[in-house]
């Protein structure tokens, strides 16, 4: 046991003190912070600051134009005088306006497209504001023309709000936010499995092609060396995750305080404008900030650590077994293929899970140990029945233990075979050899 600790210590420390580790560990949260910073800056500057002159030849929208005014930033002014379009197009700028909105004469039954003249394109928010407001007015006028009461006509405009409460109960569910968290956790597990898995494989292959392996296994059992390596590298991954968590929360908090006003404004705009435009980066960003309150963060983080640890053991063991079969550094790529495929397939399963977290495909793939680390992490933010999660966890733990045992049987043979290129069939046979 003492020797395993010595191995774990070396595997861990030799990677932690590397410059590349420090670099990625510090750089990733910084880059994320920088991205957030840019998104907030962009988010607040894209808010249009416009003064628009409105020419309404139809005379249908006079009273709606006032409603479009949004404080001091966005001002819509109806033109009282009757000036032909051609001449006002040339003079609106000199009158102090940034843009001209032309509403041609039309019949409410046959709306004609409006035209926006300006030096620049209007922002998405401005555009949807104009369309939404004027469409609403048009609809109400149509209903009135059919003889319906105006208050009824306004009533019909009210949208349905869908409030979601999950079993976890205490927090209000929000599908978009859950999807964001599911996506990020699933993707992070995917990256971790591939990254640290291949690190295990390279480590094993290095010791073998280096020939130091024979010196080491004349001091410790091959199984001890394999487990020590897997654990040591796994701890590197865990350390990195925890550092990211701490740094990430730190950066998040910093940005939240520094840009308190910008964020509040963005939130206001989001609630003020209906979701006509596509979900923008701003929505995702807001989702992240608000999301901490809306998803069960504790369950996500503990789930993440669990699925990372055991998913990593499950796959790390396979990577170690295949690494032991490497006889030439060039083999690494082709030999790692059979292990990376299920990981990549899991990412596709995750995508379908995010769309339908409770489909039978999602449930099954969150049970099967090959895909459960990624798929279950995508499901957890949506709320998973605790029984299903426990079943999935038990299956994964048992499979990891089995996989370590199986990998040990391959590893002890593989590390001693030098020279010839090894096929998967041979690796399979090694399981049954005795040494």
């Amino acid at each position: 046991m003492k020797k395993i600790w010595i191995i774990i210590k070396r595997e861990y420390l030799s990677r932690i003190v590397k410059k590349s580790f420090l670099f990625t560990t510090l750089l990733v949260p910084l880059l994320m912070g920088a991205a957030m910073f840019i998104m907030i800056k962009v988010g607040s500057t894209t808010k249009d600051h416009l003064k628009v002159l409105v020419v309404d030849e139809s005379q249908l929208f006079i009273e709606s134009i006032d409603k479009m005014n949004n404080g001091e930033d966005l001002v819509f002014k109806p033109m009282i005088e009757s000036i032909p379009l051609d001449s006002i197009k040339k003079t609106y700028e000199s009158l102090g306006y940034d843009a001209l909105l032309y509403i041609p004469n039309m019949d409410i039954e046959n709306p004609i497209p409006l035209t926006y003249y300006g030096e620049n394109q209007p922002g998405l928010v401005t555009k949807s504001l104009i369309i939404d407001e004027l469409s609403t007015t048009l609809k109400i006028k149509k209903l009135k023309a059919k003889g319906l009461d105006e208050s009824f006509a306004k009533d019909i405009e009210k949208d349905i709000q869908l409030n979601i409460e999950t079993i976890e109960g205490t927090k209000k569910g929000n599908t978009e936010v859950a999807a964001i968290f599911g996506y990020i956790s699933g993707l992070l597990i995917y990256v971790y499995l591939l990254f640290f898995g291949s690190m295990v494989m390279r480590g094993v292959a290095e010791e073998k092609t280096n020939r130091i392996i024979e010196v080491i296994i004349s001091s410790v059992r091959p199984f001890q060396l394999m487990v020590g390596k897997i654990v040591g590298i796994g701890l590197v991954g865990l350390t990195q995750f925890l550092l990211w968590l701490v740094l990430g929360i730190g950066v998040n908090f910093l940005i939240a305080t520094l840009f308190k006003e910008n964020l509040a404004e963005m939130q206001q705009m989001q609630s003020g404008v209906s979701q006509a435009a596509d979900p923008s980066s701003r929505d995702i960003l807001l989702g992240l900030f608000n999301g901490f309150g809306e998803v069960n963060l504790f369950r996500i983080i503990t789930g993440f650590i669990f699925y990372f640890v055991f998913g990593y053991i499950f796959y790390g063991a396979q990577f170690a077994a295949l690494g032991s079969a490497v006889t030439d550094e060039g083999d690494t790529q082709s030999l790692s293929f059979p292990v990376t495929i299920p990981i990549i397939v899991s990412i596709f399963l995750m995508a379908s899970t995010l769309a339908q977290p409770n489909s039978s495909l999602a449930i099954w793939s969150s049970m099967i140990p090959f895909s459960s680390p990624i798929v279950m992490m995508a499901r957890i933010p949506f709320g998973v029945p605790i029984g299903q999660q426990i079943a999935s966890m038990v299956i994964l733990v048992l499979s990891s233990v089995f996989m370590i045992w199986l990998a040990g049987r391959i590893y002890r043979i593989g590390i001693l075979i030098q020279g010839k290129k090894i096929s998967l069939k041979e690796i399979f046979k090694w399981m049954f050899y005795h040494v």
Partner: protein, 301 residues
């Protein structure tokens, strides 16, 4: 007293008989040569002794007790294919390997200092292997093997790739360790080194021991009663006429004793022929001769 007794070891690799009923013993404090052509089963045998592999049948006794995994710390092994971590510093590497042999960090550091000073390479402590030459690697590898002060040291081709000066240096270190009581198994194809260093040998071919014992006994066993003599003032043709003469080799004349004849009688005969003798000695076969003759004889069977 035997340090290691190997009894009836058998090992089969997928229908391939690697070791067949191998038995021999290694006296405590000896330098033991494990010899044999490529593919004879030496590495397999060494791997069984170092517990990397287990035998299919047979036993190994270490100090009279069946060899178990716990004894692994008492065995130092330097494989033929040398290898260390390329990106790790020499000092850290030695410390790691010593700790894996069960040494405390404190003892290991004392030993590292001792050996680096002894081989005059203290300045390498903070260098990575990448920065050192191949010959330097070998020195580090040697230190890593002996640092845990093993009772049994297994060296597989320890001099390969070393220049004569460094090979000699290493040879002196090995002899010094042996004098301090370390038993050494030495596997090599350089027969000159075996003649020079080994007290005992075992010759292995096709998975079987075909010869084992002390170097002295084996040489005695294979000597062919041939004597060499040097002469002055004698016509070479005269010598060639002598009934016991067989051939000339490196300016020495070789004579073979007849059945039941003593060297003394041969010498008397030569003198009575009027030859003036400058030197007279028995021709002892070298390990190289024995190796070649025995292996080719064994291969013909």
């Amino acid at each position: 007293m035997e340090l290691l007794e190997i009894k009836n070891i058998k090992k089969v690799f997928q229908k391939n008989l690697a070791l067949n009923d191998v038995s021999f013993s290694i006296p405590k404090g000896s330098i033991f040569g494990l010899l044999g052509p490529n593919g004879a089963g030496k590495t397999t045998l060494i791997r069984i002794i170092t517990q990397i592999l287990g035998p299919d049948s047979g036993e190994i006794y270490f100090n009279g007790i069946p060899l178990k995994q716990e004894k692994i710390n008492s065995i130092g092994y330097m494989p033929e294919e040398k290898g260390l971590y390329k990106k790790m510093k020499v000092g850290e590497q030695l410390l790691y390997l010593a700790q894996l042999k069960g040494m405390s960090s404190k003892d290991a550091k004392t030993q590292i200092r001792f050996w680096l000073e002894k081989l005059d390479i203290v300045s390498w402590y903070n260098k990575t292997l990448d920065e050192l030459s191949k010959g330097m690697h070998q020195k580090v590898q040697f230190i890593s093997t002996v640092i845990s002060q093993p009772k049994l040291l297994i060296l597989d081709e320890p001099f390969s790739g070393l220049d004569p000066i460094n090979a000699n240096l290493l040879k002196q270190e090995i002899l010094e360790l042996n004098q301090k009581g370390t038993t050494i198994i030495f596997s090599t194809h350089r027969m000159g080194d075996v003649d020079e260093l080994c007290d005992d040998i075992a010759l292995i071919n096709k998975g079987q021991i075909i010869l084992s014992g002390t170097v002295k006994d084996i040489k005695n066993q294979f000597k062919e009663n041939i004597f060499k003599a040097d002469f002055t003032g004698v016509e070479e043709s005269e010598i060639h006429k002598h009934s016991h003469f067989i051939r000339k080799e490196d300016n020495h004349f070789l004579f073979k004793l007849a059945e039941g004849q003593s060297p003394n009688e041969l010498l008397k005969g030569l003198i009575s022929n009027g030859f003036e003798i400058n030197g007279f000695s028995e021709v002892i076969p070298t390990i190289n001769d024995i190796f070649i003759s025995q292996i080719s004889k064994n291969n013909q069977i």
